[in-house]
């Protein structure tokens, strides 16, 4: 159905939407601003959206909770409708697609063939690797094999959320299904990690827009995350930072400090060790973010954040298997042991000196 000869560009579709060129350019400018890009790239975005057909996207779901998809549809600039109808062609997505069963799988296979090397593979969730991958199957095949097969001819891979980028909750100890993040299962592919549980909607659409505009992945940091969204710690942009520096902390839930919006550091806030855009973009179109609503950050975009708990403690056990003590517990035991050792040595040396004196004493008397 429909002609495959002519593919509408984003601009075409927007124009059909009754959006004129001036508003279209404004749309591009806003998008650039949202991505933290210089105004000079706006013409490039305009050109990309005017001339490029919609980017084919295959969106796979593995071991996950679908909240990344839910976050995605909450995007405000651009709104999800514009992304799905005008910017990308979401050709496969179990959660939203109309087709089901083998017809759905047909869609995936067709895109893999017709758009080899051109489609983007977006992965939500990760793959279980234990016991032959039986903990997640789709259409009778393991998700692991589907993931690897679909990545084969992808132009790039987007790892949505902490599941796909870091493993997330199912990979928390003892990781009963052997869940592994995408970058540990796919090699020789450009992969962009977009961590967060879930990631912020505008970060997700921002990454897609960037890829669509520039035909390449954004600049990545050491963890394969786009620098423009994960370059800074929550703590360094947090509006409660002045309370942190002042030393004004919430000491217990709903206390006076909590009502005044003081720093949540002592309630276990992971802002000082977490990289994400929450304080700048905020959530759900700038309404708030975890700290803004009185709960500490739990570090949901960081590797292994589930195993860095308890979330309400500042100090948790040091990351050595078998050790379940905090640095302070270990430290006080070690220092205590040193004190005891020193004490024992001191006592025995005093005792020794006393006996030596006794031995010497008759000698002296005999002289």
């Amino acid at each position: 159905m429909g002609s495959l000869l002519r593919k509408a560009t984003t601009y075409d579709v927007l124009r059909e939407h009754g959006i004129d060129r001036r508003r279209f350019v404004k749309f591009c400018t806003m998008m650039a601003a949202a991505m933290g890009l210089e105004a000079t790239v706006v013409p490039q975005i305009v050109e990309a959206l005017e001339t490029k057909p919609r980017l084919p996207v295959i969106w796979l779901h593995g071991l996950e909770c679908t909240c990344c998809s839910e976050s995605f549809i909450r995007s405000s600039h651009p709104i999800a409708q514009d992304v799905i109808l005008n910017m990308i062609s979401l050709d496969y997505d179990d959660t939203l697609m109309a087709a089901a069963g083998f017809q759905a799988e047909e869609n995936r296979k067709r895109i893999m063939k017709d758009y080899a090397g051109q489609y983007v593979l977006a992965v939500e969730g990760n793959a279980p690797t234990a016991d032959g991958g039986v903990y997640c199957t789709v259409g009778g095949e393991t998700f692991l094999s589907i993931l690897q097969e679909t990545a084969e001819n992808a132009k790039a891979v987007i790892a949505w959320g902490s599941c796909a980028s870091n493993g997330c909750v199912q990979a928390a100890k003892p990781n009963p299904t052997g869940a592994k993040p995408v970058h540990k299962l796919i090699s020789h592919k450009a992969i962009v990690n977009v961590p967060g549980c879930p990631p912020i909607a505008e970060v997700m659409t921002g990454v897609l827009t960037y890829i669509l505009t520039f035909g390449a992945l954004p600049e990545l940091d050491r963890y394969g995350r786009p620098k423009m969204f994960y370059g800074q710690r929550i703590h360094d942009k947090c509006y409660r930072r002045s309370f942190f520096d002042a030393g004004q902390f919430v000491e217990s839930w709903d206390d006076d400090g909590a009502k005044k919006g003081w720093c949540l550091y002592k309630m276990g806030c992971r802002g000082p060790t977490t990289y994400n855009s929450c304080p700048t973009f905020k959530w759900n179109n700038g309404v708030s973010y975890p700290i803004g609503s009185g709960h500490g950050c739990i570090g949901c975009s960081e590797e292994n954040f589930w195993d860095n708990g308890p979330f309400y403690e500042r100090l948790t056990s040091i990351p050595v298997p078998g050790i379940e003590s905090t640095p302070n517990e270990i430290g006080t035991v070690a220092a205590g042991a040193a004190m005891v050792g020193v004490g024992l040595h001191f006592i025995s040396s005093m005792a020794r000196r006393a006996t030596q004196k006794k031995e010497e004493a008759p000698d002296k008397e005999g002289r």
Partner: protein, 558 residues
């Protein structure tokens, strides 16, 4: 011989569901199998952790019904530790709960279920002027109904289809004989699909205000972390509360002037589905929306109870702590129970995975062996259906006037008898009717919050039992809620301030469960029986009935 129809993946749901249906010669479903094909092991992962953290782990069971697991979890811990949350915290939780209910139901109707009834391709043939007339007739107060509006939309749709990149709409069952809406109704539905997509991100801001983000807002054992202070620009204050109120008002518009009219309009074309997909006839609701603390079941807005064999004249009591009532079996599930154990109450629950299905890639599962990652929960040995329909029926049968009114009104509008409720259509309609109740309760809970604040109470958390040093060496608790998809409960066993055992029994576990040791089907399986398929290669009818439950498989198998 019988043909076997396999639908895998079942799409437009959350998670990984496989359905196999066995048809007789006439194409009627004679046996059906519902299989959850993923498992993550949350119950195993939770062991040994801090009970105060459990809500965050549990919340990640599902991002679609996000918050309900967090809610059940904090309630379970509070129950174990005997913590009573302050009234404000209870009201805020009710507001967040109702927000979730409303948002999730609307998304389900428009984005997950609608395409079972709405043929997008047929919408191309619609006349914008006629669509406008239809829209104004269906809902006189909904503003977006001009000819120009529908003309723009028709143009967009055409351009989209002509582009050749059909995206999400590629290769579905368009043109299937079971689609009955006229083109104009289809076009209107497409318009509202997009309107609902835009609106769902607004209503959910209520979660963001109180919980900091959505999906996965924050909860807290003992109350809520969002402190309230009218004197502060750094807490829940008047500006935030007004924001919430505005969002609730918008939600009322959407539900009353878009969702409910659409639902009734679509349903009126499909009254034949009031006789299909009934299934078990056993319904259960744990109840929720406490008005006087979670311990006072009699004061819930959503009542608790059990209905067996469609008998609306009797609502049976239920007790989540009774070892003989809620139990889980694994006769057809890929788990192992200790020697000699057949059914376990969740406090004694065991989660040890043991896959014994065919080696992937496989073509079919064996209905006589184990075939799902879902356990099979049963109430006093009965398979139960849970969800909006169960809640409406329990409310209706309990004689609650709010429930009686909406149900009677809808039955009258559709000119169908009360028995029509026991069906696929009944399930879909009940969800809409419940949403209507929920938006009103949302405003009522908001007003309660304001009244409580006016009375000078701004407490949001009780921290007397925050420190583990104040806890008993051992404690057991349970927490429940009525999630969008139905009755949800978590059972926790705390020992030495750590989680000793944690068991989760989820609405979709009840509904999508495999058979039990007695061979009793779960609700999905049972609802599929006796459904005729017009075209076994395009089993639209299976999708309709399965979708009417709003499946969530990440929830179901966790």
């Amino acid at each position: 011989m019988a043909t076997r129809v396999v639908v895998d993946p079942v799409t437009r749901i959350e998670g990984h569901l496989r359905v196999e249906a066995m048809l007789d010669e006439r194409g009627v479903i004679k046996d059906a199998m519902s299989s959850g094909t993923m498992w993550r092991g949350l119950e195993v992962i939770l062991k040994g952790r801090d009970p105060r953290d459990a809500w965050a782990f549990c919340e990640r069971i599902c991002g679609v019904c996000t918050t309900v697991h967090a809610l059940a979890s904090v309630r379970a811990v509070e129950n174990a530790l005997d913590v009573k949350v302050p009234p404000n915290a209870e009201i805020i939780r009710n507001i967040m709960f109702l927000t979730q209910q409303v948002q999730d139901h609307v998304i389900h109707f428009y984005h997950l279920h609608a395409l079972d009834w709405v043929d997008i391709v047929s919408a191309l043939k619609a006349d914008p002027a006629a669509t406008s007339a239809l829209a104004q007739k269906v809902s006189p107060s909904w503003p977006l109904a001009s000819t120009g509006y529908f003309k723009d939309l028709a143009g967009t749709l055409k351009k989209f289809v002509d582009s050749g990149q059909l995206g999400l709409f590629q290769n579905a069952y368009w043109g299937h004989p079971a689609y009955k809406l006229p083109p104009e109704a289809n076009l209107m539905a497409v318009a509202h699909y997009l309107e609902a997509l835009k609106w769902q991100k607004e209503i959910i801001k209520i979660h963001t205000i109180f919980g900091g983000k959505n999906p996965h807002p924050n909860y807290l054992v003992g109350g809520m972390a969002s402190a309230i202070s009218m004197q502060s620009d750094n807490a829940i204050n008047m500006e935030r509360l007004n924001y919430v109120k505005g969002l609730i008002q918008d939600a009322m518009q959407v539900v009353e002037n878009m969702y409910i009219p659409d639902l009734l309009a679509v349903a009126s074309f499909y009254t034949d589905w009031a006789a299909i997909g009934g299934g078990l006839g056993n319904y259960m609701s744990y109840g929720d929306i406490p008005q006087n603390g979670i311990g006072d079941v009699s004061q819930f807005r959503m009542p608790r109870g059990v209905i067996l064999n469609k008998n609306l004249s009797e609502v049976l009591p239920l007790d989540l702590t009774d070892a003989g009532q809620v139990q889980e079996e694994v006769a057809h599930s890929w788990y192992e129970y200790p020697e000699g154990k057949g059914a376990l109450h969740p406090w004694d629950g065991v989660t040890v995975p043991k896959y014994s299905g065919p080696k992937p890639p496989y073509k079919q599962l064996d209905e006589n062996a184990k075939y799902s990652w879902l356990k099979a929960p049963r109430w006093k040995g009965n398979a139960m259906e849970v969800g909006p329909l169960a809640r409406m029926l329990v409310g209706f049968a309990s004689g609650k006037t709010e429930y009686k009114d909406v149900v009677t009104e809808a039955l009258g509008a559709l000119k169908v008898p009360a028995t029509a409720l026991f069906s696929t259509l009944g399930r879909t309609a009940a969800r809409g009717l419940e949403t209507k109740l929920c938006v009103h309760w949302l405003m009522a809970e908001y007003d309660k919050l304001i009244a409580n604040l006016k009375a000078g109470d701004s407490a949001t958390a009780d921290t007397a039992r925050w420190e583990p040093s104040t806890w008993p060496a051992e404690a057991k608790g349970y927490g429940f809620t009525e999630a969008p998809r139905g009755a949800l409960a978590h059972w926790i066993h705390i020992k030495n301030a750590k989680i000793e055992n944690y068991q989760i029994v989820v609405p979709s576990t009840w509904n999508a469960s495999p058979k039990d040791s007695k061979g009793q089907h779960g609700a999905y399986e049972s609802a599929l029986l006796n459904t005729p398929l017009a075209d076994p290669k395009r089993p639209l009818e299976i999708l309709r009935t399965i979708h009417s439950f709003d499946p969530c498989l990440a929830c179901a198998s966790h």
